[in-house]
Amino acid sequence: MTATATSTGTLRALLHGLPGVDKVGVEARAAALGTRSVKTTAKAKAIDLAIRMVDLTTLEGADTPGKVRALSAKALRPDPADPGCPSVAAVCVYPSMVPTAAAVLAGSGVHVASVATAFPSGQAPLDVKLADTRDAVAAGADEIDMVISRGAFLAGDYAKVFDEIVAVKEACGAAHLKVILETGELGTYDNVRRASWLAMLAGADFIKTSTGKVPVAATLPVTLIMLEAVRDFRAEHGRQVGVKPAGGIRTTKDAIKYLVLINETVGDDWLSPDWFRFGASSLLNDLLMQHTKLTTGHYAGPDYFTLD
């Protein structure tokens, strides 16, 4: 579909023509995959991959340049005691903090991601959202995490959501666009699938579950549906889109469950930081602890890992 065929009627026909999602079934499948036992060498590989997939995030009103510099340093060297420990994928901050993060991360390969478009509510006029986006890109962000207008989506105004994504994508220029669906506010799994397709049709490079600012953030069933959506979208349109669960993923055990979902739903092609990210902050230290445990055979206390 092109950006011209976007009346709400056409979009509605397309999105509502997608196969339904059976709630009981998808939750059972996600729970079943959650029982996979990933141990020893497989666990070591999984932890390493998960570290490389982290979008290390701080999105607080209290963020300061000092805090962001510290976080960026941690992104580069998550475990100063272990030179073999990889860097994370990106640092994710508010637009005002982008220059600070970019200064630390320049040339490192660690991406600078910025939320934009009146994060987290998305309740602002389009020109404000676009200005927000352009400023973040101009300040050095090469990834933009936008939020969709859930109000417009739930009101059935799919064209408005679509057009906004198209406009923001254009404002991004070369920066990658992650579209946050805020699945915790969409109410049904059917809506998760529809919002995923809507975002992909409008040009999203990534679809992301949550802002982390509402009570229900990333869950396994929601991520499973989004993975199925990117798989089916690629089969139909030939374009691969990434997936980013964010919010509430705090332990290695959780992270490995997500990797199992990828492994058994979409496979190898998405098992890379280019196509899958974890939006998280406290997850990283748990990954590091487990990483250390696997290499040394014992758990080190929290003081052996840096705060940020």
Binding site: P19, G20, D22, V24, V38, K39, N263
Partner: protein, 472 residues
């Protein structure tokens, strides 16, 4: 794909004795001769088990008869205490039992751990609850137990079938003589130990092991008041003949060739899961398996692509590995039957497909298989294969789906996949099957009656209905 490292459950958590006797009157005693039970995943001998001769069956029935008087005279609440205790012991020892079940049967540990054992305990808990409420079960104000129940169970869910049989029988005040299948006696013998641990009075539960002759002698025993059998339709027929005119009460839970009907408005990803679960759960050794997939023609290509992709992720191998999806076929004889029927499928012109998968060298294995281009005239669409083999047929209209689904001598279960609630109700109403699942498959619960139409047997097990078979 990232490969999961081997994650084997420890087999040392369960102690398997080198030999087992017959559990009669609360004691283990020798039979006449022994037979070996093996691990179908490795063909290694697990134990030698006593073969019950006719005089052993006589002893068991006599013990059950002696125990019947006092047991049936106990207040229901007292019988309930024993059943609750058994349920709790099963929960406490479920890890041992799960490993034992997987070793003896070949089913993956994730199924014995997450499906069989929780259901076994749930069955005992459920019927424990009925024991003091029989007067309110709808079978009259003062329903009476029948006496001694002779029960013969199959090898596909050894301990679960034992629970289905023993829990309602005991709750209602009967005593039992149970014969587990020849290839899977170990969990029933373990259960004998659970009965002792629960201080169940001697003779209330007797477990006798042996082959078909032992079972035949048991069901034909003149002092047995009630026969319950789960197994093949062929043996069920013989039992019905032998029991005819004797006044024994009989329930039969036999074969099936269930239709799993997928309409074009189905939730596809979940339908694919349901199809996979329907036919590959427990290696397809499930009497209610969804072994005939009926797909609406307009969805056929899309669904088949999804199904094949999903099948390629199934992990076949060591039943004790926690990540195994499909374990070993239970016996060489069963493997031969599955192989034979699959060859007939190919020779009758159906197209056979299996995902690439490496099967272990030793033991009994069969790759998950689907046949497309199957019609009602193919033998693989009519006969129960009882293995991981799915026949895929198509239909054009709901009427045609219902006709095809019902066009079988069996009638145990069926599945319907559609997002349209009214269609679920309309189609379910017209399917002649004891269980109809909508947008799910192979879901079991002790509160739900289970049983068949036509050649799938008669009587119901589970739920309030399941008590009827053990009360007069």
């Amino acid at each position: 794909m990232f490969d999961y490292a081997p994650a084997p459950e420890s087999r040392s958590i369960v102690t398997i004795e080198p030999t087992y006797g017959l559990f009669i009157d609360g004691q283990f005693s020798d039979g006449k001769g022994t037979f070996k039970t093996i691990n179908p995943a490795s063909e290694e001998v697990l134990a030698e088990v006593a073969m019950a001769a006719p005089e052993d069956v006589d002893r068991a029935v006599a013990a059950a008869r002696r125990a019947f008087g006092p047991w049936s005279a106990l207040p229901g609440a007292e019988r309930a205490k024993y059943l609750f205790r058994i349920a709790r012991i099963i929960q406490e020892r479920s890890r041992e039992l799960a490993v034992l079940e997987s070793l003896d049967n070949g089913k993956p540990i994730k199924e014995s751990r997450d499906v069989d054992l929780p259901l076994v305990a749930a069955h005992f808990f459920y019927y424990a609850g009925w024991a003091d409420k029989l007067a309110y079960a709808g079978f009259g104000p003062d329903p009476k137990p029948l006496g001694v129940a002779g029960q013969v169970i199959p090898w596909n869910f050894p301990l679960l079938m034992l629970a289905w049989k023993i829990a309602p029988a005991l709750a209602a005040g009967n005593t039992v003589v149970l014969k587990p299948a020849e290839t899977t006696p170990l969990s029933a013998l373990f259960f004998a130990d659970v009965c002792r641990q629960a201080d169940l009075p001697p003779g209330v539960v007797n477990i006798i092991t042996g082959a078909g002759d032992t079972g035949r002698y048991l069901v034909e025993h003149p002092d047995v008041d009630k026969v319950a059998f789960t197994g093949s339709t062929e043996v069920g027929r013989q039992i019905a003949r032998s029991v005819a005119g004797t006044g024994k009460k009989l329930t039969l839970e036999l074969g099936g060739k269930a239709a799993n009907i997928v309409f074009d408005d189905a939730p596809i990803d979940q339908a694919v899961e349901g199809i996979v679960n329907g036919i590959f759960f427990n290696q397809g050794h499930v009497c209610c398996a969804g072994s005939r997939l009926l797909v609406q023609e307009s969805l056929f290509e899309e669904l088949l692509t999804s199904l094949k992709r999903r099948m390629a992720t199934l992990r076949v191998g060591d039943p004790l590995d926690k990540n195994t999806d499909i374990g070993a076929i239970n016996s060489a004889a069963q493997l031969a039957r599955i192989t034979e029927l699959s060859e007939i499928g190919s020779s009758e012109g159906a197209e056979r497909w299996s995902p690439p998968c490496e099967l272990p060298d030793r033991g009994f294995w069969f790759a998950p298989t689907i046949f497309t281009g199957v019609t009602q005239a193919h033998r693989i669409a009519r006969e129960e294969i009882f293995g991981p083999v799915l026949s895929v047929l198509t239909f054009r209209t709901p009427e045609e789906a219902i006709e095809k689904a019902n066009n079988t001598p069996y009638g145990l279960s069926a599945g319907i996949w559609t997002e349209k609630g009214s269609r679920i109700l309309a189609v379910a109403d017209q399917l002649r099957a004891g269980v109809v699942w909508a947008n799910t498959f192979n879901k079991f619960d002790p509160t739900s009656p289970f049983g068949g139409y036509k050649e799938s047997g008669y009587g119901r097990e589970g739920g309030r209905h399941g008590l009827e078979a053990y009360l007069a």
